[in-house]
């Protein structure tokens, strides 16, 4: 949630002149997306989102992300559709940064998802996996199991500041995950960050999925495990069985899980918890004292990891 870059109106007008989307009526920085600067853009042709890519998104990855959104939108997944400029290209430059304009999606994020939201998400996630199956570009998951130990190692010394025993817990879990991580599961392009912030609803119907900037090639069931962790725990970080069942059964009606995916799911759920525990922990170390941005609490994902360590199979 941030606007990092102030866009000068003269630069903006010059940028918009390279598009065929009418005259500028309004442009306001919005608090959406963690990695980029986003603006609500209103022109005589309609509403759009203008995104400037900040340092955390590699420019070399943009053709993958933009191509994926276009691929999915053409197959009926409601996601932002990049708008090409007059030269036919989706990617331009504004304020010294790579910049795109995408279509505006109505809908709003649900802060406390109910069972019906989890079920709707399950359908949308499975549809996204089916729709991306023939997407030709590839992007490896830079935050999968082999990345976790190198991420943790340089930060391990301060782990017990977050919670006594955290370092030992993480290191033992990394041993487990590295030895037991499932290979050769059905794979393709996954969203990899489909938290409630990144799904829009109108009532209990999904109206859009946004923020594809962690999308990559990995096991479909790992994406489902990320969603289970993000959507199906309550505010005290306790698993909600009813929401979990709603998500999983809705997903499986659209894209059935095979035996290997079912067997692997408890380990995938532990790994999905580890991935967010680690990035939140590293971000938490990074924040200067007195800063106005409160980092997300890594202990939320420690609690979810502990649940999966003891829960065993629940599918």
């Amino acid at each position: 949630m941030a606007v990092y870059t102030q866009v000068d109106d003269a630069e903006l007008l010059a940028f918009l002149a390279t598009y065929d989307i009418g005259d500028l009526l309004s442009c306001k920085g919005i608090a959406e997306g963690v990695e980029n600067s986003n603006y609500y853009l209103h022109t005589s042709a309609g509403s759009f989102i203008l995104t400037l890519y900040e340092r955390r998104v590699a420019e070399a990855d943009l053709p993958f992300f933009l191509g994926l959104m276009e691929h999915l939108a053409r197959r009926g997944v409601t996601c932002p559709l990049p708008v090409p400029n007059r030269a036919g290209k989706p990617l331009g430059r504004l304020a010294g940064r790579p910049a795109v304009i995408v279509t505006f999606l109505d809908g709003y994020s649900v802060h406390h998802p109910e069972v019906a939201h989890c079920a709707a998400l399950g359908v949308a996630l499975a549809q996204l996996h089916l729709a991306s199956a023939d997407f030709p570009l590839r992007r490896p998951n830079a935050l999968s199991v082999e990345a976790w130990r190198p991420l943790f190692a340089p930060a391990a010394a301060r782990a017990d500041e977050v919670e006594p025993g955290l370092r030992e817990t993480v290191e033992a879990e990394l041993d487990y995950l590295e030895q037991n991580w499932p290979r050769d599961l059905p794979s393709g392009v996954i969203h990899a960050d489909l938290f409630p912030d990144n799904a829009f609803f109108l009532g209990d119907k999904i109206s859009g999925v946004i923020d594809f900037y962690f999308a990559c090639n990995d096991a479909y069931a790992y994406d489902l495990a990320i969603c289970l962790n993000a959507w199906c725990f309550d505010e005290a970080h306790r698993f909600d069985m009813e929401k979990g069942a709603a998500l999983l059964s809705a997903y499986r009606r659209v894209r059935p899980l095979d035996g290997a995916e079912l067997d692997a799911f408890p380990t995938l759920a532990r790994g999905a918890a580890m991935r967010f525990l680690l990035t939140r922990y590293v971000d938490w170390l990074d924040v200067p004292k007195g800063a106005l941005v409160r980092p997300k609490d890594p202990r939320e994902y420690l609690a979810k990891l502990r649940f999966h360590q003891t829960a065993g199979a629940f599918l």
Copy 2:
């Protein structure tokens, strides 16, 4: 520029149910206004701005601000119009804060105003002064000359950290301003913060004036002096004669200045520089090390003060 409060979707839906503005389609925190949390709100009835008032705006002042916007909008000044709820009241509560919904204005702020923008602003400011003449509520200017010394005194010790000699400069100028501050000038409701951020343009025509949360009763010519300082200096803080002349002559065509206002103007311009020098200096002291918000540079207004100390009459 900030969003301070995260609004829960369930709370938002309950709040909107007290209004007759259709169904929620979208709500996004926007980077607009320094004192409050603002959201772009899209419903089936159109576009609006939702504002939550944070601690820096006194709740007792809200009837003045909201009544003023309604008064001005009814007299043809393009400013946000508060939307009454089903009980006929403009003010409600959301997320524990006073909250209003106002109409959405097209247009965008101009970062580097040109001569034509300064002229358009002059007309709009004079129209605003004429339109507010019969507004019945009153609010004293809490940031006028008698407030400046008490604002500076507790912070004076660190002034030379901003620039060597600042403390002495400010204290001598306060002596001058307190002895020479003009009284009994034509007065009424002034905007008191009409910086380029708070004016919207479409091309070189003003499409709206926003952010009335410093509005108060004071001399009209003081408001004009605030605008002169905010709009008619270049990025090196040098006065731009052509922009200044455009602003002042456009204003005077709509609302002529009398002899007392002309005589007082150089002192008003010094005071207008002092007021923003002091609040920026105090804000600058307040920001914790490492914070992500960069405070506005108080030295910009020190340069403008020095210009007015030596420029003398230029009307």
